[in-house]
Symmetry: C2
Subunit: 333 residues, 2 copies
């Protein structure tokens, strides 16, 4: 449930207004009582904390069939939806998948559904249902993830003085896409990052239990883009120290500036970005790393203001700008 891919320009303002109008919420009392979070966060949340997210993957936009095995198409789509649950610190319950494939592609459909089922299993979710229909040509897969978040962590809780942390390392998935687009084969590590990302469900639960998560988002659009969503939802600014950003080994193979660009703007890492009171995470970080065999890295801080700024090693500060994946920014073919 992201509004980020709506584009930065004015042309999708009407859709923004429709969704924002929904965000003001219904006036009917029973319906009001059913809704805890509407549009604008990673998941909608209803009733006693049912978190729901939907994630659409369209062939030739989100993946290409010559890049991935069918099971990987299913796995990464389901992982993306499950990552939205992680971004609310929700416990996964189940997955529903709607799949459209061309005629006579039964093996393709079965492979995709096997990948969806594997991703659900790996995150402790059940496969609750599927809807299969025909597509004239391209594969379309839509995954709905349902979880339980009695105390959902929203994007809106970041406050000036908080620190910004990220799990894992960034830019691996984007390195794989860059390799494919240049006609090369990505490294095994980059391919794995793109094809079988791990939703950080257990990591989010671990951090939530320790009371340190004040704001949370998953990294689907790239650190710079997703940090800007967190900043906007919290009405604050975020200052990222570029020297601190943990670059994925697969993204670090080229020029350092290119590596940083992949890590900041690459997207689809499905790591977590969180805001926590200064000093709150430091005491837990080593235990986190040992428990999950995963980095947990402070990358910046929350400041008064708005937007995301980057501080270079020399100390100069500049706006992060765009550069994340925007479905309608006009820069793609």
């Amino acid at each position: 449930v992201k509004q980020s891919p709506l584009g930065a320009g004015g042309e999708f303002d009407l859709i923004r207004r429709i969704l924002a109008g929904a965000g003001t919420g219904p006036t009917e009392p029973w319906l009001q009582s059913q809704i805890r979070a509407g549009p604008g966060d990673d998941c909608a949340v209803i009733r006693d904390g049912i978190a729901v997210s939907v994630d659409m993957s369209v062939e030739d936009v989100h993946f290409r069939r010559d890049w991935l095995e069918p099971s990987e198409i299913g796995y990464r789509s389901a992982a993306a939806a499950l990552s939205d649950l992680a971004a609310m610190a929700a416990r996964p319950i189940g997955i529903l998948a709607a799949l459209a494939v061309p005629r006579r592609e039964a093996d393709l459909a079965a492979g995709i559904m096997e990948g969806v089922a594997a991703a659900a299993h790996d995150s402790g979710a059940a496969l609750l249902g599927g809807d299969l229909s025909r597509s004239p040509d391209r594969v379309v897969l839509d995954v709905v993830a349902l979880g339980h978040a009695p105390n959902p962590v929203m994007r809106s809780g970041a406050r000036p003085g908080h620190s910004i942390w990220v799990t894992g390392s960034l830019g691996g998935a984007a390195a794989a896409v860059a390799a494919w687009e240049q006609g090369r084969s990505p490294s095994a590590a980059a391919r794995q990052a793109f094809a079988r990302p791990t939703p950080r469900v257990a990591e989010a639960a671990w951090l939530r239990e320790r009371g340190v998560l004040h704001a949370l988002i998953d990294l689907s659009d790239g650190l710079a883009g997703d940090a800007s969503h967190l900043a906007a939802a919290s009405d604050v600014g975020i200052l990222l120290d570029t020297a601190l950003v943990p670059v994925h080994p697969a993204a670090a193979e080229g020029h350092p500036a290119a590596a940083l660009r992949l890590a900041l703007h690459g997207g689809e890492d499905y790591e977590l970005c969180l805001a926590a009171p200064a000093g709150a995470i430091e005491a837990l970080a080593e235990q986190f790393r040992q428990t999950f065999q995963l980095p947990l890295t402070r990358v910046g801080s929350v400041i008064r203001g708005s937007g995301v700024a980057l501080r270079a090693p020399g100390g100069s500060v500049a706006p992060a700008g765009a550069g994340g994946f925007d479905h309608f920014d006009g820069s793609e073919p």
Copy 2:
């Protein structure tokens, strides 16, 4: 959450096995406690009765852009998902919509989302979120409907001796499609039936409150096809009296045999089909008709056996056969 479009042949058996395997349910106790209904009914149901359905509409498969206004594309897709809630006698809470449109189609996207919002409003549901992405060419719209069904009515409760009833009249949407496919303009009534179907949410709630709903399904694939799903889920047979089937006026304009075919096999009427003890509905039917200005018609009965049989006016009985919309039956272009 339908398994019906998987096709009757053997080629989608693997997908059936994946979904059926999910149907046996998880073994982890917490997860077991969260799931009340998995694959195989109109909605999945979790926790305290949260019903969830997902419905995908693909351009040139489920609709054509030269048939419908953008708002109608959105309205009918959302209505189809809300109809799945009606089919469990669930009260709608909210809608999430994932939409993919080609570049520079902002008006199209806005129109579709306005239609989704209108359908949600008309059924008393909130718009909880949206996900917009780019499609290379065709419009794809996926609607997730969430409702509350503390006592969901399943497909599996039909018993020999029950009567089968349907709301409304059947074949109107199929009459519109038939007209378009023959290069004609459908009548206003047929067009309305296809473009702006009414999910029978209030009607299902009214009947559930009166305790007469033992099994329930909505008519998306056509009466013959959906009755066969109800029969299979209940492990019974269903005998339909063709003379009793309420044919939509728009479907009744041609040859009587063609009209009956549209009503039995046309699909996308989004009326309800229910099983109730013999004699239970008769006392309520007139009040139902006055309350909703909608027919409620007995069309047959539940028998021992399996499948759906048709009884012609002369008394001869024959299997209903296929003839519903099957995405992979090989008979379409």
